[in-house]
């Protein structure tokens, strides 16, 4: 079966050629490196010559008006969309453009979607169980058992995201904010090197937002975190470095104050979104 399976994998020729779970090499520079990336849909350039570097352990916020290409950028990093040109490197060893989503995920890049996507039919506990970093190929999954070690890890994360009481409930009944946390919890279970977080506080109450900010800042350092967000207040509360995207490329980069005073940014945002003001 596993032989057939390896045949079924179209992106790999021979197993031994690709050291799959090799550590990310960050000795020579950043953990994520995008260069000259361009992608267009039907002639519309969603990403236009984008250059971006994220350092190991950094917490980076990315802002930009609607249609600036934030989500598309995430799609490219996680392998969902292939760019027309450009290169994307994870550490100095992994060319992400040659990998598909599961491989990228196994390298240690986790993603939280804009719309909270948890598995609604499964319990909170099971959601975390599926996300846990372990052998995710077919046979082991079929035969997997819940060891006490696994349980402990899941319990720990349940504590962190504050959903311990709801562990046995289906994820579908969680509130919007709880789903967001569950999703962050799932990212934690993956033990990623790099976390991509898309609009984590959309539709949250003040209190929920505070808690989310805590969660994310707590993550930085151990993990590199990229947050895409509209809410300026929230960004201000967590950000160290902010990158502004506009029409598919970087418009400005710096601290929140630097960026907020950049005349180009002000111009872009004036006709645009009210949050910027």
């Amino acid at each position: 079966m596993s032989f057939l399976q390896s045949l079924a994998d179209r992106d790999r020729v021979f197993d031994f050629l690709v050291p799959e779970d090799s550590p990310v090499d960050v000795r020579h520079g950043p953990i994520l490196y995008l260069e000259d990336v361009t992608v267009s849909f039907d002639g519309f350039k969603a990403i236009n010559n984008l250059n971006l570097t994220i350092d190991d352990g950094e917490l980076r916020c990315i802002i930009g008006p609607n249609g600036a290409g934030k989500t598309t950028m995430m799609d490219i990093i996680t392998g969902k969309t292939r760019p027309d040109t450009g290169t994307v490197w994870f550490g100095s060893r992994h060319n992400l453009l040659q990998k598909n989503e599961p491989e990228i995920a196994r390298l240690g890049i986790g993603r939280k979607f804009q719309k909270p996507t948890v598995f609604e039919a499964l319990s909170v506990f099971e959601n975390l169980e599926l996300a846990m970093a372990m052998d995710k190929s077919l046979w082991p999954t079929l035969r997997a058992r819940l060891t006490s070690e696994v349980r402990e890890r899941i319990d720990a994360v349940l504590q962190t995201i504050g959903l311990a009481d709801l562990r046995a409930r289906p994820a579908g009944i969680l509130s919007h904010g709880q789903k967001q946390w569950l999703e962050i919890g799932m990212l934690l279970m993956q033990r990623p090197r790099l976390l991509l977080v898309d609009e984590p506080v959309a539709g949250m109450t003040e209190q929920e937002m505070e808690r989310t900010a805590e969660l994310l800042t707590g993550l930085a350092g151990r993990h590199s975190v990229v947050v895409v967000e509209h809410d300026m207040g929230f960004v201000r509360s967590i950000a160290r470095t902010v990158t502004v995207l506009h029409q598919g490329s970087v418009l400005a980069e710096g601290t929140m104050d630097q960026v907020a005073n950049d005349p180009k940014v002000i111009e872009v945002y004036l006709g645009g979104e009210e949050e910027a003001v």
Binding site: E120, A121, P170
Partner: protein, 448 residues
């Protein structure tokens, strides 16, 4: 995508399941209990025709025919002083369901005889059941032959009662030299065309002058094929199409012929599966002159036929209703069975089987049909031309009736086989060369 929630709901659901299953089994069990037969009980006649699905178009009228015949018979006092009771089931044009329903009729309802089936595949499906449970089946449709079962009576035409005389007519009376054999891809056209190819070759028609074409069931786009036929027919020799195209595909076929200007004077089409009922769905004005070969036409000028038609008009309440060849086959088969039961004095299957061989009853074309020892019957062969009123006018007929041949003389495997279900032989596939019955033959040969 729908999300259906979680596997947790499983639990003790199966408890309900128990109840349901047990109930249904119980219900089936009860329905199975048949009551002991008693002389005053009605004689049960099973009717196994599709009333739904693709074959309902052809078969549902046969069910009505049987109901009408039974009603008439009951009005005349029934049979052996007992009433006839029709048992109608619907095999829904589903071949395995035919077998199941046949089993239901024989094992559950304990009918004395079954009238049914249209397609060959449904007959093949029912055959083992009828043989296993020793039932009687009257099969009313023209078919490819190559079969003779002890329990089945074939009242439709075998290939020698339809195809060969039709080709003879075209060859001798119309002067056709070039042939298109067009059919639906299933066993009846395949066999008929193989027989015809052999027959034409024996009559000196070259391979170049024969074009064979098969189409799927219900084929509706005939543009290319008609165009090919036109081209094939423009070689300066008189050309005809022998069509074994089945049922529904005929309407678009004839429409395309008419619209591409192929008329009967240029390239006549002789069909073996197009009768009055099929024509009732077509505007026949452009088709006048195309031919069909059958053993009965509604237009036959005969009082028995007119009586039958009038009864049919009355029964259906529709003076535009049509009758056709398989209906006549049921008429003949039903009367033969009545006669055989009277002769045997019982409905016992084995006795009726013996009694029916040699029974003669009037057909609707002014002659008599006789049950032959091979369970096929004698029939006249009529060639008719389509009229603008959806009827056929007979242009030619065989001088006397033709006996159905179960095993074709023109096929390699069956050349040496005959069928005779009378006492000493009792064999459906007797090999005259080896002098032994069917499957046993090979064994004898092997052991010698």
């Amino acid at each position: 995508m729908i999300r259906i929630l979680p596997s947790a709901l499983h639990r003790s659901l199966s408890r309900r399941l128990t109840g349901g299953l047990a109930l249904s089994v119980l219900a089936l069990g009860i329905s199975t209990t048949a009551l002991a037969e008693d002389a005053q009980d009605p004689i049960k006649v099973g009717i196994l025709h599709s009333l739904t699905g693709t074959m309902a178009i052809s078969e549902s009228t046969l069910k009505d025919t049987m109901l009408m015949l039974i009603e008439q018979q009951n009005a005349q006092g029934g049979l052996l002083g007992r009433e006839l009771e029709p048992v109608v089931v619907d095999p829904a044009s589903n071949w395995p369901l035919f077998a199941e329903k046949a089993r239901e009729l024989l094992a559950q309802e304990e009918v004395d005889v079954i009238f049914g089936n249209w397609t060959s595949v449904s007959r093949k499906s029912v055959l083992p059941v009828v043989e296993e449970l020793n039932g009687l089946l009257f099969y009313p449709v023209q078919y490819e032959g190559e079969e003779s079962s002890e329990n089945v009576f074939y009242t439709g035409a075998a290939p020698n009662q339809q195809a060969i005389p039709a080709v003879d007519y075209l060859m001798n009376e119309v002067g056709v030299e070039r042939w298109v054999l067009a059919g639906t891809d299933y066993v009846y056209p395949r066999t008929t065309n193989r027989i015809l190819e052999a027959y034409l070759a024996a009559n000196g028609v070259g391979d170049d002058d024969i074009m064979v074409n098969y189409t799927p069931f219900g084929h509706s786009d005939w543009q290319n094929i008609v165009s090919e036929i036109k081209q094939f027919g423009s070689a300066g020799k008189k050309t005809a199409v022998v069509s074994t195209v089945n049922g529904d595909a005929n309407v678009p076929f004839y429409r395309e012929l008419a619209n591409q200007g192929v008329d009967a004077a240029d390239i006549p089409v002789v069909a073996f599966s197009v009768g009055e009922q099929e024509l009732s769905g077509i505007d026949t004005a452009p088709l006048v002159g195309h031919l069909a070969a059958w053993n009965y036409f509604m237009s036959v000028d005969n009082d028995a036929n007119y009586d039958f038609i009038d009864a049919w008009y009355d029964y259906t309440g529709d003076d535009e209703a049509v009758t056709n060849d398989p209906m006549e086959a049921h008429y003949i088969g039903f009367n033969m069975w009545l006669e055989a039961v009277r002769k045997a004095g019982t409905t016992d299957v084995d006795e009726v089987k013996d009694a029916i061989i040699g029974v003669s009853v009037p057909n609707l074309t002014g002659g008599y049909a006789t049950m032959m020892p091979n369970h096929h019957i004698t029939k006249p062969v009529l060639i008719g031309e389509i009229q603008d009123n959806g009827q056929f006018s007979v242009v030619w007929e065989t001088p006397s009736t033709v006996a159905g041949d179960a095993w074709s003389d023109f096929l390699q495997g069956s050349r040496d086989l005959i069928s005779d279900w009378r006492a000493p032989m009792r064999c459906g596939n007797y090999n005259v060369v080896e002098g032994s019955c069917g499957a046993g033959a090979a064994e004898t040969v092997a052991s010698e």
